[in-house]
Each structure stands twice: as structure tokens, then as C-alpha cells.
């Protein structure tokens, strides 16, 4: 099966500054893809090139076999949700959602039916007469989502749609977006700098840095088998164990905080001894900083009711050889 969304050798330069340096990827229909990376890594520029707001310096973008590289944004049949909602302030919620349908020439009665359907989908039935300023940020962003998908676009582009919302709404809305996306089977490209967001929601993640793809894969692969040092440190927390800290290790090794435990497990075959330098009780998880011969290690353990730990306690750390990561360049 040929890829549904295909990006080939995509390059974008602004003057002498190249922000996207020959990016390639191909995704299947219905996939939820995240472009993840720090600010300035080129992820937003790629999304804007897919949308047609930026013209690629070279390379090609294909959707469902059509080369859309040189089409205008209004010829691409895509949907997009922006960080700043970008609802039309002069229109009601219903008019906002119907906008794309009206432009496409859909008759009024069909438009009304589609708007009702969309409002039900986003959980805001009966809101069509409201104006955007009468709604909360989360509600506005859901309307923006409905507006984007109402004309049944080939591709849904999400440009950091959750960044302007507060933490609680961010989590619930991302689950809602994912559920709707799955229901409709719409291929989606999601841009974010939040690795937790990307991992929780995506089928596959493109981790980017400085205009290049560092790694492309499922969340599980990226977290457990980071391809580069950048991916290992950008995605999730990581402890670096300098050479010499572990018996028999020749070089630097790294390990995730949750893979170090205070009690032996069947697979653990290494131990380290240290003192607790700091501890944070986060409820279900306890985060420790343990000083092992001058190296501070972060350790996440589940809450344990039996004996509260204290700063200054000496603890034995158990870890498994197979969990150690060797960081490349």
C-alpha cells in the first residue's frame, strides 16, 4: 500500500538559515503522527509547508498520491487547528463550523445537519448560537477542531493546539482529540514540544532537532530504544552513569529513573550504594535524588507505606544490565 502522507527531501531556508534540512517521512492513512522537538527544531515549519503557508525551498509533499507541494493553501483540502484557536470572532459557533462547508458550496440544510453532527461530536450540542468570546479556551479549541474536520479534510493538522490551555483541560482535550481522530480515521499531524503529550497520543512520533529527524517510531521504541543521545535526553528523564561508576563498564551508560529500584527484582544484577540527597513525595510516586560517589541519580519509586525514607539514609540501588543505555553521538 502506498503511503498516504509522504514528505520527500523537504528543505526550507530563510535566507542563509536552513531550518528544515532534507526531511523524509511517509505515513499511512488514519495514523496519528506527532512532530516533537524543542522550539526552533523545524517542526512547525514542516507543518506550515504541509498546510501551504510556507513554500518549500526544495522537496515534495504528497497526500494520497497527489503532489500538493505547489498548491495554494485553499486548494489542498486540509483542516487545521491553531494554537490561538483562531475562531472568527464575528461569527457564531455554528457559522464558524459551517464556514468551510459554505465555501465548498454545500446547501444550507445539509450544512445545518453537519454542524449539529459536529457539535454532538465535540460534546457541545446546542452551542451553535454562542459567540467565541462567550466560551472558555477549551470550548473554543473544540469548536476549532469541529470547524477543521467539518469539511472532511484529507489531513488534519494540529499546531500545538493544547499549549494555550491549562493543565487539566490539556489532558482531557488531548484524549478527546485522539478519540475523535480514531473514530473518523482521519490522518493527523500534531506538532508539540511536550514529549508526554506526544507519547500519550501518537501512533508514531517524529523526534526532530535542528532541522533533522533524530528518530521516527512508536512512543514505546523512542522511549526504550532512543536512537541518539538527543532523543534519550529530550524524551523522558535520564540518569547518566559516568564510566567507572559501574563495575566492568567501559564507557558512559544511562538509565531511566523508574528502572532503578530500592529492592532487588528478579532481573536486577547490579547494585550501587548511595545516600539520599533529596526526596519529593508526589503521591503515587516518590522521586529520590541519590548521591552515589558524587554522581546524583534520580530514582522514581512507587509509594511505599511501610517505612518513610529520610534525607541522609543510606540505600542500596538495584538495576539490571539490560536496562542500561549506551548513548551514541
Amino acid at each position: 500500500m502506498p503511503a498516504f502522507l509522504e514528505v520527500q527531501n523537504l528543505v526550507k531556508s530563510f535566507g542563509s538559515n536552513t531550518v528544515v534540512k532534507g526531511v523524509n517521512f511517509a505515513f499511512d492513512k488514519g495514523e496519528f503522527i506527532s512532530l516533537l522537538g524543542p522550539s526552533g527544531c523545524g517542526k512547525t515549519t514542516i507543518l506550515r509547508m504541509i498546510a501551504g503557508f510556507e513554500r518549500p525551498t526544495s522537496g515534495a509533499i504528497r497526500v494520497d498520491g497527489d503532489d500538493i507541494t505547489h498548491l495554494k493553501p485553499n486548494q489542498r483540502k486540509l483542516g487545521m487547528v491553531f494554537q490561538a484557536y483562531a475562531l472568527f470572532p464575528n461569527m457564531t459557533v455554528g457559522e464558524n463550523i459551517a464556514f468551510g462547508l459554505k465555501i465548498a458550496g454545500m446547501p444550507a440544510d445539509q450544512r445545518r445537519a453537519r454542524v449539529d453532527e459536529m457539535l454532538k461530536l465535540i460534546g457541545l450540542p446546542g452551542f451553535e448560537k454562542r459567540y467565541p468570546y462567550e466560551m472558555s479556551g477549551g470550548q473554543q479549541q473544540r469548536v476549532a477542531l469541529a470547524r477543521a474536520i467539518a469539511p472532511k479534510p484529507r489531513l488534519l493538522l494540529l499546531d500545538e493546539p493544547l499549549s494555550a490551555l491549562d493543565a487539566k483541560i490539556r489532558v482531557s482535550l488531548r484524549e478527546e482529540i485522539r478519540a475523535i481522530q480514531r473514530d473518523l480515521g482521519i490522518t493527523t499531524v500534531f506538532v508539540t514540544h511536550d514529549q508526554e503529550e506526544a507519547m500519550s497520543i501518537s501512533d508514531r512520533i517524529v523526534v526532530m532537532n535542528a532541522g533533522n529527524i533524530e528518530q521516527l517510531g512508536a512512543a514505546h521504541d523512542i522511549y526504550n530504544r532512543p536512537a541518539t543521545r538527543f532523543v534519550a535526553t529530550f524524551v523522558g528523564q535520564l540518569n547518566t552513569l559516568p564510566a567507572g561508576l559501574l563495575p566492568g563498564a567501559t564507557g558512559e551508560r544511562a538509565i531511566r529513573p523508574e528502572l532503578i529500584s530500592l529492592a532487588p527484582r528478579p532481573e536486577t544484577d547490579l547494585t550501587l550504594t548511595g545516600t539520599i540527597a533529596d526526596l519529593h513525595f508526589l503521591g503515587s510516586v516518590q522521586r529520590l535524588r541519590v548521591d552515589v560517589g558524587g554522581t546524583l541519580l534520580n530514582i522514581d519509586t512507587f509509594n511505599n507505606q511501610t517505612k518513610p525514607l529520610q534525607r541522609g539514609d543510606t540505600v542500596t540501588l538495584h538495576l539490571a544490565q539490560k536496562d542500561l543505555l549506551t548513548l551514541g553521538a
Binding site: N74, P89, Q140
Partner: protein, 263 residues
């Protein structure tokens, strides 16, 4: 504290007196046409003059055309400069201020030289052409106000993102300006429109030199020939201008709240 308030009120009262006393005196004088008693005879005389209605109607029509042409010129210009060529803004600011610096007299002599009946584009050769020229001159005169009103209006909305949002849904440039940008800056445009209207109604120099029967030249003509009517006319045109200004305020208050909440 108390003395501070006293001085503030005193300054306010002096300032107000500066405007109100001449106005009150003019109004008082306008009522004295009939010997020995106050009456509205001067106003009756003004309103019964067919020239008053004719010149006023003419100026209103020219004013409406000026507003329409001004919007058609200014809105797309401000929109594209803000969206595509932001580096041009300081230049635009400067150019739109020029009509305030260059006297209308200079402007109209320039027009007469350039578009006179012996020139390549003889606008002044016909009445219709002269009307067009007058409208164009007024668009220029009102430009500083119209530009600033529209520019302020566009500042309050994120035209970049709104444009992209409309584009990705298939809208073309015309649909974006007509359905998204214009409705969102309507209040700003209206305030520019009323300022334009106020300017056009009272303008004398250009209308007079182009020899058009506008309200401004009519006012001046009456002023030189009659005693009480000019005072009445001054009060009438004050009311018209203030009405236009008041409309800006009223519309601003009744306009739908369009600013997006960002929480």
C-alpha cells in the same frame, strides 16, 4: 486634596468656557433675528432656502462616495501591508500623514494643473469629472483618519492566523477580506467613516476652487451676505458634526464584543 480638586475643576471650567462661551454667544445671536424677542426665524430662513437643502444633499452624497472609496482603498492596503509587508508600515504612516501637512490649497492647485481641461486627463472638463476629482480629493483629505481607524481596528484582531484559518478551509483572498476582516473591523471602519463625513460636510477650499455647489462654500456665501443666518448655520453644522462624533461612541458601545478570549 480638596485644593487639588479645586484647581482641577478650575482648569476644566476655563477649558470648557473657551469652547462653550463662543458657542453660546453664537446660539444667542442666532435667536435675535426678530427685533426685541428671541425666535427661531433665522433657522426657519435657513431651512426654507432651497440652496441649503441642495448644497447639503450634494455634500452628503459626495461624503458617502468618499467613505466608500476610502474603505475600498484603505482596508485592502492596510490588510496587505500588515500581513505581507510589515516593513512598509512606517512608510505608510508617513504617507497617510501628508494630507495633514500639505495645505488643501496646494492640493487643489496641483489637481487643477494636472487634470485641467487642457491636460491629458481633463477631469475638470465636465461636471461629472469634477465630482470624481472632488471625491478623490476628499478621500485624500480623510486618509489620515481613515487609515488610523482601520489600522487600529486590525491591531485588535490576529489577522495573520485568521487569514490562515480561512485559507486552509478553502477561502480566497476576496472572501477573507469580505467575510472575515471587514466584519471584524466594522466599528473601526464606521468611526473612520463618520470622521470622513464630518470633514466632507465642512470642507470649503477644494469645493470652492473646483466650483462645486457643496455645503462648505454655501456656508461661506451665506456668511458674507447675511447677518443672523450664518450663526444659525454654524449651530446647525455643529450639531451635524457632533452627531457624527456621537455616533462613533454609540456604535462603539453597541458593537458586539469581538476580541477573542485567550484563557
Amino acid at each position: 486634596m480638596k485644593s487639588q480638586k479645586f484647581w482641577a475643576w478650575l482648569v476644566f471650567a476655563l477649558g470648557a468656557a473657551y469652547f462653550i462661551i463662543p458657542l453660546a454667544a453664537t446660539f444667542e445671536f442666532s435667536l435675535r433675528m426678530r427685533r426685541g424677542e428671541y425666535s427661531f426665524d433665522a433657522y426657519a430662513s435657513v431651512f426654507s432656502d432651497p440652496q441649503f437643502a441642495a448644497s447639503f444633499t450634494y455634500s452628503v452624497i459626495v461624503g458617502l462616495f468618499t467613505i466608500v472609496v476610502g474603505i475600498l482603498v484603505v482596508v485592502p492596503a492596510v490588510y496587505f501591508v500588515r500581513l505581507r509587508m510589515p516593513w512598509l508600515r512606517p512608510f505608510m504612516e508617513f504617507v497617510t500623514l501628508l494630507p495633514l501637512v500639505i495645505p488643501a490649497l496646494v492640493l487643489v492647485y496641483g489637481y487643477i494643473r494636472l487634470y485641467g481641461s487642457s491636460s491629458l486627463i481633463p477631469f475638470t472638463g465636465s461636471v461629472f469629472g469634477t465630482n470624481i476629482l472632488l471625491t478623490c480629493a476628499y478621500v485624500t483629505l480623510a486618509m489620515p483618519y481613515m487609515y488610523r481607524a482601520v489600522d487600529n481596528g486590525m491591531r485588535t484582531i490576529d489577522i495573520g492566523t485568521l487569514t490562515e484559518a480561512a485559507q486552509i478551509m478553502g477561502a480566497n483572498q476576496l472572501q477573507i477580506i469580505g467575510k472575515i476582516i471587514l466584519p471584524n473591523i466594522l466599528v473601526a471602519i464606521l468611526s473612520g467613516a463618520f470622521l470622513t463625513f464630518a470633514i466632507v460636510i465642512g470642507e470649503f477650499t477644494i469645493a470652492s476652487l473646483l466650483n462645486r455647489p457643496a455645503f462648505g462654500p454655501y456656508l461661506v456665501g451665506i456668511g458674507t451676505n447675511r447677518a443672523y443666518e450664518p450663526a444659525a448655520l454654524a449651530i446647525i453644522s455643529f450639531i451635524i458634526t457632533w452627531g457624527a462624533m456621537g455616533m462613533i461612541n454609540v456604535l462603539g458601545r453597541f458593537a458586539p464584543r469581538t476580541s477573542a478570549r485567550t484563557d
